[in-house]
């Protein structure tokens, strides 16, 4: 009998305790976030999406080399001597045209390894996470700000300059050789040592 009464008392007590808990929660504000309308602020350092500040990029290719899944694709073209690409905001001189800077976010595994080697801190994660696409190819983000025409122009220029430089170098080489020959003529000196390898090469070629 006493156990029945004691158990009954504890039962009633626990029921009313429980109801007290629920009514307190009834008047508490809800913890729901109305997601599409209200967004939660992401914590600092959240890895959501890669972004490249292309104005600061010097085309050093370090990020692409750090990437474990090869999702960064960079193509650079040496700037010709007549253009000055300026400096980055960190003071590094820019020497390359970035004809291509693609990041495939479908491949990216959000390891954040690419952001640390960057000397100008121009590649970093931004807290933006709503970028789902119906087509996987749309997840490849093109950060290069050059138009295709500009890219062609730049490439042509660079090739021309490279050729000119090559010619220049050859010309200089020739001049050097000529000078050397002149010197050799003015100061007759037996040159057994350089001749011998030349002969050898000739022999090998023939």
């Amino acid at each position: 009998m006493t156990t029945v009464i004691r158990e009954g008392w504890t039962t009633f007590k626990s029921i009313f305790t429980g109801m007290g808990v629920t009514i307190r929660h009834f008047f508490k504000p809800a913890v729901t976030e109305l997601y599409p309308e209200e967004k939660v602020e992401l914590p600092k350092g959240a890895r959501a999406k890669l972004y490249v500040n292309i104005d600061d990029c010097i085309g050093c290719n370090l990020c692409a080399r750090a990437c474990p899944v090869n999702c960064i694709d960079i193509e650079t073209v040496m700037a010709t001597s007549d253009v000055d690409l300026g400096k980055t905001s960190t003071g590094n001189p820019k020497r390359f045209w970035l004809t291509q800077f693609d990041i495939d976010m479908a491949k990216c595994m959000y390891c954040d390894l690419c952001t640390f080697p960057c000397p100008t801190d121009c590649i970093y994660m931004v807290p933006e996470y709503e970028y789902s696409e119906f087509d996987r190819t749309n997840l490849v983000y093109h950060f290069s700000d050059l138009t295709p025409e500009k890219v062609d122009e730049v490439k042509e220029k660079a090739e021309k300059e490279a050729e000119e430089k090559k010619k220049e170098r050859e010309r200089k080489m020739k001049e050097k050789k000529a000078k050397a020959k002149d010197k050799a003529k003015s100061k007759p000196k037996p040159k057994p040592k350089p001749k011998q390898p030349d002969n050898k090469k000739d022999d090998e070629e023939s």
Binding site: I15, V21, T22, T32
Partner: protein, 342 residues
């Protein structure tokens, strides 16, 4: 009463008379289903439905109703077709018919019969019959188990329910609910408390506690929702039902909740009487007070639903047969003694 409608067509008068509780039930069911979901949400620190209709999602039940109307009406191949289709309507008819003897205000009662409580208890038993009917006709093991549990529940709760009603009848001396309500008018206890039965006799407080537990069992509310316990029996007797037939079950369940709450209000909390004596009392205020008190009891039922876990069948049997019935009869004797002495 019908005579007071004057010289309009008697058939029309009866129709109008009968449609008042129906309107109340239908509007209440829409509000209560939405309200229950809101209560559940708030208790669990959520928001509940809040999209449809703008203000706190008030139109959610209407949207649900539209969805249910459009759903396909499926009858299982091996089901007993007639009983399967008939059960939900019988269930709602039973709980709707019981509203006839509830005095909504001093001006309105569906039927002024002298055996009001007796009629109400008799007609609500049909509810269980329709649950068993639905469970058997579905030809589904879950449904059948739900129906059988409902029968087991019936034999458990009927005795304490009737015995607690009897305690009130001992005090009032009348089975007519209108008379019972009229006896509770006035504010005489301790100079300010209303003359409600719950304040008149300390043992009637215990009686109300037992009555409340048994109406929780009777209306299949959560600590005792064994016939439809979704974690054990899929949905119990509702498993095979879809669309509007299922909605009828839902409607009947909520109507039953309101019916039993209103019965409790009539028996213990003064029915349509205002708690402030003659202040804010009258036929129209009677409707207001009666339904407000009923809704408060319904809210407590919802509150309990989102607080307590479900009992097992044997635990329910133990509570009803082992604790409630002896307690009720002891209490009945004590109430009678109190009435004799004071």
């Amino acid at each position: 009463m019908i005579e007071s409608y004057g010289n309009i067509n008697p058939v029309l008068a009866v129709l109008i008379h009968a449609l008042i509780p129906l309107t109340i039930i239908l509007v209440y069911a829409l509000v209560a289903i939405w309200g229950e979901r809101k209560v559940a949400g708030f208790i669990q620190d959520r928001l509940g439905p809040h999209r449809v209709g703008g203000w706190h999602g008030w139109a959610q039940s209407i949207a649900d109703l539209l969805k249910l109307i459009q759903k396909e009406d499926i009858v299982p191949k091996d089901a007993s077709r007639f009983l399967f289709k008939f059960a939900p309507f019988m269930m709602f008819a039973a709980s709707y018919a019981a509203f006839a003897v509830l005095p909504f205000s001093s001006w309105y009662i569906g039927s002024m019969i002298d055996i009001g409580v007796f009629y109400l208890i008799a007609i609500t038993s049909v509810l269980t019959l329709s649950v068993i009917m639905a469970g058997w006709a579905s030809n589904n093991k879950w449904s059948l188990l739900g129906g059988m549990r409902s029968a087991a529940q019936l034999v458990s709760y009927e005795v304490p329910t009737i015995a607690t009603v009897l305690t009130v009848i001992v005090v009032s001396g009348s089975l007519n609910l209108m008379t019972v309500t009229e006896m509770q008018s006035g504010n005489d206890i301790l100079g300010f408390l209303p003359n409600w039965f719950i304040f008149q006799n300390p043992f009637l407080i215990i009686a109300f506690g037992i009555f409340f537990i048994s109406i929780l069992v009777e209306s299949h509310r959560v600590p005792f929702d064994l016939p439809e316990s979704e974690s054990e029996l899929v949905a119990g007797y509702q498993t095979e039902y879809s669309g509007m037939r299922w909605a009828m079950f839902m409607l009947a369940e909520y109507a039953d909740m309101l019916l039993l709450s209103l019965l409790g209000v009539t028996l213990f909390f003064g029915g349509w009487n205002s708690p402030f004596g003659s202040f804010m009392s009258g036929p129209a205020w009677g409707f207001f007070w009666f339904l407000l008190k009923g809704f408060m009891l319904v809210f407590v039922m919802m509150w309990i639903r989102w607080t307590l876990p479900r009992y097992r069948v044997d635990q329910l049997m133990h509570i009803c047969w082992g604790i409630l019935i002896p307690a009720t009869f002891v209490n009945l004797i004590l109430v009678a003694l109190w009435e004799v002495v004071f």
